[in-house]
Symmetry: C2
Subunit: 216 residues, 2 copies
């Protein structure tokens, strides 16, 4: 990975970053139930993670609990949402309005988690000029002019496998800094580009294998 300006942020391990949203979801649930204080032990018990792990994960976040009392739930939610980047909007383009791409454009939930998809791109002339959930779809050739106006930071990659690498390169050429890769293809990118792979079909493979193995 590349050198960074801010070593403290960069030091947060990926497993911690993946667990923090679980804690957030859980404490939001407690808030709905009108609870106001939560201990790391309670989080640990409900989430099925070691209490020491919870405390360690939360130590990366700027939140202070009271000994033998716990964390104030309102502040914990606020601090976690900020820390995870869910409260600020990150502009994104989506590339490949096929089945999965169109599905993601339908998921307005992404907005709530800080991702603002401002445009979709495709090569299919029937799609270009249409929109899904208010998000306009353009021909890929319009990327340079739209990026000059919109300054997107993240590219969601939902193209067919054979287009994954060239489209990722096109994104990077036009200044996108992060690629959220939903294809099963492992793209190669320069060191200063951030990639998250979310290959949901790979999760299916794990599930099928485990199901075929457990005694039914």
């Amino acid at each position: 990975m590349s050198r960074t300006k801010n070593n403290i942020q960069w030091k947060v391990p990926e497993p911690t970053l993946r667990r923090l949203p679980w804690y957030l979801a859980f404490v939001k649930l407690l808030k709905k139930k009108e609870q106001s204080i939560v201990s790391s032990t309670q989080i640990a018990k409900e989430i099925n993670v070691d209490a020491s792990q919870v405390a360690k994960d939360l130590s990366y976040v700027d939140v202070v609990g009271k000994t033998r009392v716990g964390y104030n739930i309102d502040s914990l939610i606020l601090v976690l949402e900020n820390f995870l980047g869910f409260t600020s909007q990150h502009k994104a383009f989506l590339f490949g309005v096929g089945r999965l791409g169109a599905a993601l454009l339908h998921d307005s939930g992404l907005n709530e988690y800080g991702l603002e998809v401002v445009a979709g791109f495709d090569v299919d002339p029937d799609l270009c000029g249409t929109s899904i959930q208010g998000i306009p779809i353009f021909h890929i050739s319009e990327l340079p002019s739209l990026q000059a106006k919109l300054h997107a930071v993240i590219g969601i990659l939902t193209v067919p496998v054979e287009a994954a690498q060239p489209v990722a390169e096109m994104m990077i050429l036009h200044g996108l800094k992060g690629v959220w890769n939903f294809t099963p293809f492992r793209i190669r990118v320069p060191q200063n580009i951030v990639v998250q792979n979310t290959s949901i079909y790979a999760h299916l493979a794990v599930m099928f294998n485990r199901l075929s193995s457990v005694s039914i």
Copy 2:
């Protein structure tokens, strides 16, 4: 995890199961380019995984390569698709036709990977009786009678966080064996139930954090 009838299958490590679909995607791409033979070295180079790791991963699969030649691409595709469970259909119900749930029903790509979503369930009376992409949506109270007819094996969990645990328990009560959990809530299930967590918003958190750390 529970005892199993088939220890050989069960022994496939999760990271291997997650990488095999990458290899599959890559060799399918080579097939499109009319290549007929591939070596584990070529796969390794393109996918950015160690060649020894590729060979080890493929050793779990019943496919034989020729020394210094490689694998026949047609057989490798066939064997991988079978091994990963993508060629047989696994019946699934989807619970919670909200934003993400509806988005997943729009993703007809799941079918191609062996997942046949046969019904959606929700509590919203406005949704019940409608359908998305031909998949009918029922009130959750109809689960017992539909399961008696359809015998679904997998439940896709896309309900709000507060419903995650009770709905998972309802699935299990009615004989579903696998829970594909898209909520950020860590559900607790009996040992013989298979859970895959696909919390896409957690991946967003990782990406936001990394983006805030790399030098732009």
